[in-house]
């Protein structure tokens, strides 16, 4: 792989960029791989990457029914934070966040990780208590956060309306090293690195069946023919239920639409990510200048990648109240993704009833921020059979009543 | 009287006039609407028959509205509610019913104005087809008014009644006033 650098650009500029090589290869599938990952989104590619990097497993195929990074990786609001309440959540999201810090250098691909800081606003006494609790938990989890007062919020976010009248800002949970990254670049950077390790990323290859022998996986059927494997990782947010069905087990998952929108670009006016859970909206400003806005999920199962407009209305009115200056900005584009939601809204990283089949799903609205941590844990789980980061996220927790519930500290949205 | 309605007589004049309609007697009657005994009790208490689905029947100062397959809303003068409740309870003794005075739980607004303007004010707030061929006097609709539950009906083509929960009376009044502000005419219902 030829390294990217300013020098390389200068060299290529001289010859009209004719020398750039493909970022990733476009191979036909082999007959057999040690590991097949279904889903070339951020999570699937990260899983493959860490299988190679951490465990030397490179005879890997990543199968993608559409184009790589074309699912939720390319449809989210790019927020990265790890200020979670429960230990196991904080562990995997903080692992992810710390990997984001060095991702551009690790992958030699600038994913534009911007640790600009994330504030979760406390607008009720209940939220104040909830976020103070989270701050205490984070301190013991090694996640650097701080509960800050309203004046500090105003300093960090001059465009915010902290005085209400409806929901005065009482403070906020501030994670200085949270931020954003360029979402597509995360998928592309991993894809390039995986391809460089000799892994096959096979796009437009839809899995149509999971082949099992004696309760163990032996391969998959695809639109490009049958492919054998020893281990199979299902990493297909939104469509996890469909794939599990092929493998012969059920997941405690429902697929819901989650929507986002951006404004037209304006000059820089907000340097941090702000989440306002009382009114259900969050906003950041992209490097292009667009205000990137999101809210809650729709309430019913939906595979259309289109949501209901009243959720957009709810989100926008919440943010107009919080940031009155956005009223005269215009919505440029709205879109939806399909997120898979589990019974406790926390992910599943688990072995399954079928030997050799592993599942990584249920990230709900937290998918993007967890990509490297999720890939890291999934790779370890698939390579070694267990992973401390994945331990608590097993499927068994539902039968045991062992919930990982993040909504308890008011931190609902992402 | 020391009783106060939520808005204590507020009024706004815009494309239509929005007024607090004051204290209105309201009784919820839950029961088997197909039962003859219930129909008779309603008749005795109000002089009215049980209305059809999503209809309201009225006579004088009383009215009966269809709320759901097992619930009616009985309207009577505020000061008479105690008597009507007692009458109903007596007539329905031994039956499985629930008679509940909810007069104080709600606020009522009166909207008066040109027929088209009246419809427009409501159509800004409720996901309901308010064209004359779809909704008119005699119809009763429970729905959503912006962010809260509410219900309305037309007494005639120039008078509408809107009810909502008492705690959100100011919010609904605010909604109705903003919707009735001059300059906001839509001109779609003639």
């Amino acid at each position: 792989m030829r390294r990217y650098s300013a020098f390389a650009i200068a060299r290529e500029a001289a010859r009209y960029h004719s020398g750039w090589e493909r970022a990733w290869a476009s191979p036909e599938p082999k007959k057999k791989y040690d590991v097949i990952i279904v889903g070339a989104g951020g999570h699937g590619l990260a899983t493959a990457y860490y299988l190679g990097k951490n465990f030397g497993i490179t005879n890997v195929a990543v199968l993608e029914k559409g184009w790589l990074g074309g699912g939720n990786t390319g449809r989210n609001t790019t927020i990265i934070r790890s200020n979670y309440l429960q230990d196991t959540s904080a562990a995997i999201y903080e692992k992810a966040r710390s990997l984001y810090e060095t991702m551009s250098q690790d992958l030699n691909y600038n994913v534009m990780f911007s640790p600009r800081g994330v504030i979760m606003l406390a607008q009720t006494e209940h939220e104040v208590r909830g976020y103070q609790r989270t701050a205490h938990a984070n301190a013991l989890q090694g996640v650097k956060t701080e509960f800050i007062g309203p004046q500090r919020v105003k300093e960090l976010v001059p465009i915010i309306n902290i005085s209400g009248p409806r929901y005065p800002v009482l403070g906020g949970l501030w994670q200085e090293r949270g931020g954003t990254a360029r979402h597509d670049a995360v998928a592309w950077g991993y894809a390039r690195a995986c391809s460089d390790m000799g892994m096959d990323i096979i796009q437009k290859c839809e899995v149509t069946g999971v082949r099992r022998e004696g309760g163990k996986v032996v391969g998959v059927d695809t639109t490009k023919g049958a492919i054998d494997c020893d281990k199979l990782g299902l990493v297909v947010a939104g469509h996890s239920g469909v794939l599990a069905d092929m493998a012969g087990f059920r997941l405690p998952i429902e697929s819901l639409a989650l929507q986002a929108l951006v404004s037209e670009p304006i000059k820089p006016c907000m340097d941090v990510v702000v989440m306002a859970n009382t009114v259900h909206g969050y906003m950041s400003q992209s490097d292009k200048g667009e205000m990137v806005i999101g809210g809650g999920t729709d309430g019913f199962n939906n595979y259309t990648q289109r949501g209901s407009f009243h959720h957009v209305e709810e989100t926008v009115r919440a943010l107009v109240e919080t940031f009155p200056m956005i009223s005269r900005l215009k919505m440029l584009r709205q879109w939806g993704g399909i997120v898979d939601m589990t019974g406790d809204r926390s992910p599943i990283l688990s072995k399954t009833p079928v030997e050799g089949v592993f599942v990584n799903c249920g990230w709900g609205t937290g998918g993007f921020k967890s990509i490297p941590g999720s890939g890291w844990a999934m790779a370890e789980l698939m390579a070694k059979g267990h992973s401390p980061l994945a331990e608590e996220f097993g499927l068994n927790r539902f039968a045991e009543g062992r919930f990982i519930d993040e909504s308890v500290a008011a931190g609902v949205a992402h | 009287m020391s009783e106060l309605s939520a808005l204590n007589g507020a009024a706004f004049h815009g494309t239509v006039t929005v007024e607090d309609a004051g204290l209105q007697g309201m009784i919820a009657l839950r029961g088997d609407l197909a039962s003859a005994k219930l129909a008779k009790a309603v008749k005795v208490a109000t002089g009215l028959a049980i209305p059809a689905v999503r209809k309201i029947s009225s006579e004088g100062d009383k009215a009966v509205a269809w709320m759901s397959p097992d619930e009616l809303l009985i309207l009577a003068p505020y000061e008479d509610t105690g008597d009507v409740v007692a009458q109903l309870n007596e007539a329905l003794a031994g039956e499985h019913v629930l008679v509940q005075n909810l007069s104080d739980a709600r606020a009522t607004f009166s909207l008066t104005g040109a027929p088209g303007a009246l419809r427009e004010v409501l159509a800004k707030l409720a996901p309901v087809d308010l064209s004359p061929d779809a909704f008119g006097p005699g119809d009763f609709r429970r729905t959503r008014l912006a962010q809260v539950a509410g219900a309305f009906w037309f007494e005639d083509t120039t008078t509408a009644r809107v009810i909502c929960f008492r705690s959100v009376a100011e919010y609904v009044y605010g909604l109705l006033c903003v919707s009735a502000e001059d300059g906001g005419e839509v001109g779609i219902f003639g």
């Binding site: 990217y4 650098s5 500029a13 009209y16 960029h17 090589e21 970022a23 290869a25 390319g74 551009s104 691909y109 990780f113 006494e125 104040v128 208590r129 205490h136 989890q141 465009i159 592309w188 796009q203 037209e264 670009p265 820089p268 490097d287 289109r306 407009f309 209305e313 009115r317 107009v320 009155p324 200056m325 956005i326 009223s327 215009k330 919505m331 440029l332 584009r333 879109w335 009543g401 | 020391s2 106060l4 939520a6 499985h96 629930l98 909810l102 007069s103 104080d104 739980a105 709600r106 800004k124 064209s131 912006a146 962010q147 705690s167 100011e170 909604l175 903003v178 919707s179 906001g184 839509v186």
Partner: protein, 1003 residues
């Protein structure tokens, strides 16, 4: 220079001059102008700078597709960035400023990017700025952000208002051109209710500019008559300045009506968002002309041929004196003919086709216009303004044959139907090779609730370009929409139209077709985002082969015009690069809105006072008058405390508690939920709902109860009073009123529908006032009217009666540990009773207290609070509430769940009291640490604080918490590290800090 012509313009009223300013310079236009036409008339071709390279940008189009002419409009509370000059109607006093430059439009430092453009190809960010690591955030990103971003930031709260409007229609026709008008008529004649939306201020679309004859009349006349006819039809609603911004599932169409943008002084809302439910939608949205990709096609003065024609005909504006037309189709000849007829020079029509054969070409030639076939533009000369073009053979690599001086270039690469609305909700497209366009696949329309198609495309939006075909298609579309909506359309023929016959288009995706890298780097696809042919080719070369990859890698089509001009050219370029067919490459997904719509319109009326419902109790006004400091609780606002002059909130809370414990206090408890549950099976039902046994409660008595979810977690608590044999009244928490009522109805309707139980939520029927403290009884006795003595009304009983002449129901329940009465009174009498209590209490020094005093007092008593001790993961067994869990019942909601292994785990943290060694207050939410770390390196914990307060009664900090084996560890001291760097040491103790034996409440 562009200038105003002396000839009559279609849309102008030259009797009415309009004054406006651009970058502070005063200018004059006419009524009917757009900002773009007026600027051009004032010689202002350059209107902005591009996003990435800060290249000079002139207006290129005349409508919603404009990517360049974006301005900041207005000032202060009415400032709006990124407003399209082409869709901004001119009004008196309009003030506009150009964007994305510093210090000025003419001289922009940022244009240095342009000089370095070669180093900034597509995706260059991804390949550099990686070292040193911190530099991206601190150095590179701020530079990138500052140089991007386009418009200025609005500073103030918006001065305008907005609203929503619901409409229900049989047929919505989008687009008020001839196709839309005709379709609306065809649909309306069936009797269907029709709404016709047009985004501009004028009917007729572009047909009147393009010419032709309909039913023997000029198009303008036809439009005028048709509009008049539609206006007389009672079932037709016509709206100008109302854009259909999106089509959503189940026939939901969003209309964006701009009511006062053209008249800011007018009263009324600025924008109205129409939420229309349509049985059928006809998209008569027209077509958009495509640019051609040649070097220098972005120089100001290079415009769409149709736009130059529009400015001349509609606004009497000449874009330049000498306009070279470059085309691959016949339509652009209309521009040449129009200009020539207006007395302007057209040095040449450069036609990339080998032969130009249509009637229009013949007409142009007849007018003496030089037509060069098989030629293309090698390069446009000029930087801030076109000075000429170098022409070449289209088949070659760009060797210059001739240079032609000119000051404008009219380009046409053919027409693309506007398929956005068709596509928003899943309508599919097909590639039409003959016409070189994506058009709606009529067999794959978006489907509605019934599974049938609900969108019909009409006219040029359906790929038809000849006037006769357009009208016939529109007639058919209107009729078919009416039919699908359940009406019987009249069989009527479409009007007869005559227009020129056109020779076929020849697709040209690069000019000249063999252009080398140097020319390709100057051939723009996306004018705003600075994406060139070379960028798309580079993306393909690097493996970003999916059209979505290319779009995202190059930012093609992601600017504020959302690629209306660039998408098709871009994906054709991609297809060429991949040696694939265009349909194989496909399109990106069309997402709403069609053009950007204001956030204000989306938020609608929900701002200020009516941003959200604010729920108020009947005593709300009193609290306000008495200086309450508010706390939002759900949609309610409750007094947190009532601070007096100079008093801190903490002091106020302490005072309120002290006075209540010492004498008497009063609390507005109206927000607590009250639900009537009645019927022969009411007891059985409540036994399922509560963990306690409620069916054994005697009429007249009260019992505290717990409710769990089916998942076992504690979701609500409150006192249940049995009213009579069949009737219970269940109190819930403030947040629980609606939720628990819904919960009850859900179980009754969907699981136990044969149980005879009715419920009614009577929360708002009653105001509820708690009178609390040792003097409470005396106070009530003073009010008079009923016996509230211990014997007649003992603890945990209720009675109906009268106080101070007002009918009440009094509950002897206590959440404070004091002698306490909760008095329910019909809401309309709430304020009267409150006033009487306050008045009668004066002699006892009665004080109102707020939620914080309530919380502290209950904590002193060790009572749990839903939301503090519980957080959705806590079961009653954790809280030492096993006494409230009936052992006799076979079943209740949550019972089975509580038998699962994690819920019976002895290691679950249990409720205890906590007191600091030094009397200080434990920090809220602090965790108790245990030895060591877990497998993920996190510090182990053994408990947490759930409630913590300073107790004025005890004069020290008190807390409750959940602790591992807590109840077995009384007296043990554990460590709670704070976030302030201190470690708080607390002793585990009984959670009941005050009056452990309940002697005070039970008197």
């Amino acid at each position: 220079m562009s200038t105003r012509l002396a000839t009559k313009a279609r849309l102008l009223n030259t009797d009415k001059q309009i004054r406006f300013s651009f970058n502070g310079k005063q200018m004059i236009g006419y009524e009917g102008d757009t900002l773009a036409s007026a600027l051009l008339a004032n010689g202002q071709m350059m209107m902005g700078r591009s996003f990435k390279y800060h290249r000079p940008r002139g207006v290129i189009a005349s409508g919603a597709e404009e990517p360049n002419a974006l301005v900041g409009l207005g000032s202060g509370a009415r400032f709006e960035p990124n407003q399209r000059a082409t869709t901004t109607e001119l009004f008196d006093g309009l003030s506009a400023t150009s964007q994305n430059h510093w210090p000025s439009l003419e001289f922009d430092i940022g244009a240095v990017n342009n000089k370095l453009a070669r180093f900034f190809p597509a995706g260059f960010y991804y390949k550099t700025f990686m070292a040193p690591r911190a530099a991206w955030k601190s150095v590179f990103e701020p530079i990138v952000r500052q140089s991007a971003g386009l418009g200025k930031v609005p500073k103030d709260r918006d001065a305008d208002r907005y609203e929503h409007f619901y409409a229900f229609m049989d047929v919505v026709v989008v687009g008020g051109g001839v196709a839309g008008l005709q379709a609306a008529k065809a649909a309306a004649q069936s009797g269907a209710k029709v709404l016709l939306l047009e985004q501009t201020a004028h009917w007729g679309g572009r047909a009147p500019v393009d010419g032709g004859v309909i039913d023997g009349q000029p198009v303008d006349k036809f439009v005028e008559e048709l509009v008049s006819e539609l206006e007389t039809m009672p079932n037709v609603t016509l709206r100008l300045r109302c854009m259909a911004s999106g089509v959503y599932d189940h026939g939901y169409v969003l209309g964006y009506e701009r009511l006062t943008d053209h008249a800011p002084e007018a009263s009324g809302p600025r924008h109205r968002l129409w939420r229309v439910r349509a049985k059928q939608v006809v998209t008569a949205t027209g077509a958009i002309e495509r640019p051609l990709s040649f070097a220098g096609n972005d120089v100001p003065g290079v415009m769409l041929a149709s736009a130059i024609r529009d400015y001349a005909v509609d606004y009497g504006v000449s874009v330049g004196d000498r306009t070279v037309v470059v085309t691959n189709n016949d339509d652009a000849y209309r521009t040449a003919i129009t200009l020539k007829n207006l007395g302007l020079e057209v040095p040449a029509v450069i036609d990339a086709r080998a032969s130009a054969g249509g009637e229009l070409a013949e007409e142009a030639k007849a007018l003496g216009i030089r037509v060069e076939t098989g030629k293309g533009i090698a390069k446009v000369q000029g930087s801030k303004r076109v000075t000429g073009v170098a022409i070449c053979s289209q088949a070659g690599e760009g060797a210059v044959i001739e240079e032609i001086p000119c000051d404008a270039v009219a380009m046409s690469g053919g027409w693309s139907p506007v398929v956005h609305l068709w596509s928003h909700c899943g309508g599919k497209l097909i590639w039409d090779d003959v016409r070189s366009m994506f058009r709606p696949d009529v067999d794959k329309a978006p489907t509605g609730a019934d599974g049938q198609g609900f969108v019909v495309a009409a006219g040029s939006a359906n790929g038809l370009l000849h006037l006769q075909n357009i009208l016939a298609d529109a007639q058919a579309a209107g009729a078919s929409a009416a039919k699908a909506a359940g009406f019987t359309p009249k069989s009527a023929a479409a009007p007869e139209a005559q227009a020129r016959e056109e020779a076929p288009i020849e697709p040209v995706w690069l000019m000249p077709q063999g252009a080398g890298p140097k020319l390709r780097m100057k051939a723009w696809l996306d004018f705003q985002n600075d994406v060139k042919v070379s960028d798309v080719m580079l993306a393909a070369q690097e493996g970003y082969e999916s059209v979505e990859h290319t779009k995202r890698y190059t930012t093609l089509g992601m600017a504020t015009d959302q690629g209306k001009l660039s998408n098709i050219n871009g994906l054709a370029t991609l297809a060429r690069s991949l040696n694939a067919d265009i349909p194989q490459v496909g399109t990106t997904t069309f997402r709403p809105p069609y053009t950007p719509i204001s956030m204000g319109a989306i938020a609608g009326e929900a701002r200020g006072e009516i941003f959200q419902p604010l729920r108020k109790t009947p005593m709300h006004g009193w609290h306000e008058e008495h200086g309450a400091h508010w706390e939002p609780v759900g949609h309610w606002r409750r007094p947190y405390c009532y601070p007096r002059q100079g008093e801190s909130h903490a002091d106020a809370v302490a005072r309120e508690i002290n006075q209540t414990r010492k004498s008497v206090g009063m609390l507005d408890a109206s927000t607590l939920g009250k639900i009537i549950v009645k019927g022969p099976d009411a007891g059985k039902f409540l036994d399922m709902l509560y963990t306690n046994m409620m069916s054994t409660l005697k009429p007249g008595k009260c019992r505290y109860g717990l409710m769990c979810s089916e998942n076992g977690f504690l979701i609500d608590d409150g006192v249940v009073a049995r009213i009579d044999e069949d009737t219970f009244l269940c109190h819930t928490t403030t947040g629980g009123a609606d939720r628990i009522h819904g919960h009850m109805e859900e179980w009754l309707q969907t699981e136990w529908w044969d149980w005879k139980v009715y419920t009614a939520n009577v929360t708002e029927q009653y105001a509820q006032i708690a009178v609390v403290g040792p003097n409470a009884r005396k106070l009530l006795e003073k009010l008079g009217g009923m016996d509230v003595s211990k014997d007649t009304l003992p603890f945990m009983q209720w009675q109906d009666g009268e106080l101070a002449g007002i009918g009440v129901r009094v509950y002897r329940i206590s959440f404070s540990g004091e002698l306490s009465y909760e008095i329910a009174v019909p809401a309309s009498n709430g304020r009267a009773l409150w006033d009487k209590i306050a008045e009668a209490g004066a002699e006892f020094g009665i004080m109102p207290y707020g939620t914080e005093a309530l919380h502290v007092m209950r904590a002193e008593k060790g009572f749990i609070m839903i939301g503090d001790e519980t957080d959705g993961t806590v079961i009653p067994q954790d809280l030492g509430l096993t006494w409230a869990i009936s052992k006799k019942k076979e079943d209740y909601l949550g019972k089975r769940a509580q038998a699962r292994s994690h819920m019976t785990d002895p290691k679950r943290w249990k409720l205890v009291g906590l007191e600091t060694i030094d009397g200080s207050v434990l920090p809220d939410g602090a965790y108790a640490v245990a030895e060591g770390t877990n497998a993920n390196g996190q510090r182990n914990t053994q408990g947490r604080v759930t409630s913590t307060y300073h107790s004025p009664t005890l004069g020290k900090g008190i807390a409750m918490g959940l602790v591992l084996n807590g109840p077995d560890r009384m007296g043990e001291v554990i460590d709670f590290p704070g976030t302030d760097g201190k470690t708080y040491k607390a002793r585990i103790c009984d959670p009941v800090f005050y009056d452990k034996d309940g002697e005070k409440q039970n008197v």
